[in-house]
Amino acid sequence: MFNDIIVKNFSNPEFAAEIDNATNTIELGNPVCGDRIKVQLHIEDGVIKKANYAAWGCATSLATGNVFCSHIHGAACSDIQSMDKANIENMLGELDPSQHHCLEMLHKLFEKLQHTIAVQ
């Protein structure tokens, strides 16, 4: 069963789109269940001006892409860099055991984003 955050984000995935002028791309795959998420970013002046995503996978992973984008869209890179695991932990709400791999994916996405920002 899905919690409200997950339902809202997979049934109305506002950030599911492509960016023409992406400055960066983050990609992630889960080798076990085959979920894939690709996030395109437009970063300018230390701010994530735009974040969009595409995904292929279970409902929770589709929601995860949208949750990720909604949290980083418009955020300052410095704020992203200062985030830690605890901030991310509750973003998807309460999950069933079968959905936990999506939280792992979300953590990975933030890690990758932090890395992307760091090396910029």
Binding site: F2, V7, F10, S11, P13, A16, E18, E27, L28, G29, N30, P31, V32, C33, G34, R36, I37, K38, Y53, A54, A55, W56, G57, C58, A59, T60, L62, G65, P97, S98, Q99, H100, H101, E104, M105, K108
Partner: protein
Amino acid sequence: MTTQGYFDYNATTPVCSEAVNAFINAVTQYANPSSKYGLSKTSNEIINDARAQVATLIGADTGEVFFTSGGTESNNWAIKGAFFQQLKISSTRNHLIVSEMEHSSVLEVCAFLEREFDCTVTRLKPDSEGIVSVAAVANALRPETLLVSVMMVNNEVGSLQPIRDIAALLDDRASQQKNLHDQKIHFHVDAVQAVGKIPVDVRDLGVDTMSFSGHKFYAPKGIGGLYIRQGIKITPLLHGGGQERGLRGGTEAIASVAAMGAAAQVTVNTLNDQVVYLAKYRELLRSELLSVVPGVYFHGPANKALQAPNTLSVCIPGIRAEALAALLDNMHGIQVSLGAACSNNKSVALSHVLLSMGLDEDAVKATLRVSIGQYTTESDIHRFVQAVVTGVTTLFRISKPASQSYVTTA
């Protein structure tokens, strides 16, 4: 509760009002049927009436119908019962033949016997349409074969198995060529997805034991039965007081038994009609989906007469059925079953039925099971197809770009 979004009749059915009323009437008859006083007479009559109703549904004599707690108990009883019955006589007749697409209550029993006892199990692959061939059964037979168990209708793709022909094969074998112990091979059939959905006649089929479950034909959950052909002996699974003619202990579940009897009665009266209109609805569903969902196709028998009239196994390439089902459920209140589901953090459970038919992982993950029943209406079908279109559109919007690009794993 509304049933307009319910497309999962193979998982379970709503309980019909006749069954509920029968339960309510019977539950006040509290006397234990095993007791010897007058008060027990009504309890016994209720059970006898229900047994007759169920016997009529499957073409059996009342003496051949045994009540159980459901399909799982019936399958466990028949297979373990045949195995332990034989164990007394000979421990060398220890070979079981089943299909790979059996329900877990058959497969797990076989795995248990294989693990704990000196016993070998042959698991037959069905063809790509989900049908086990008689030839495959014939090839698997050995002198030490004790039991063959093949389901009558598969729960996921609705494919009908050649039960009558397998029974004939085993009969032939018994008469022509004596096997190791001059004993007929026991033929068990899991008919849980058949009884109530298609006409079933045990005499005509020639099976030895046959399982059925009330909640698949509009009775409450937790009540079912096992047909045991007159003269066939199996060891009890529930040893105890002498109930069910000494073969299944436990105070009889009178009210649930009455409810299943009533549901059986309704089914006897309506089955012929149901079979016709459900097949019509299924074909409506098929043609509508074909016309609006790009790439959609269906698993199961090409010959539609070999498929349960209420079942459609739908594959939509390029999407995850699990995600579509979540959209259908949360946006439209529609219930379907899946070919695959994330079962925990580290694995995906892929349908063993679809895999046994040779489908690859992507196809399994893209498969929905749609099953309809007596409360399904034509407008439910239209509404369903509309919801699928909306869902697929959303999913393609999310996935199109990503699914086309190469993605490295984390």
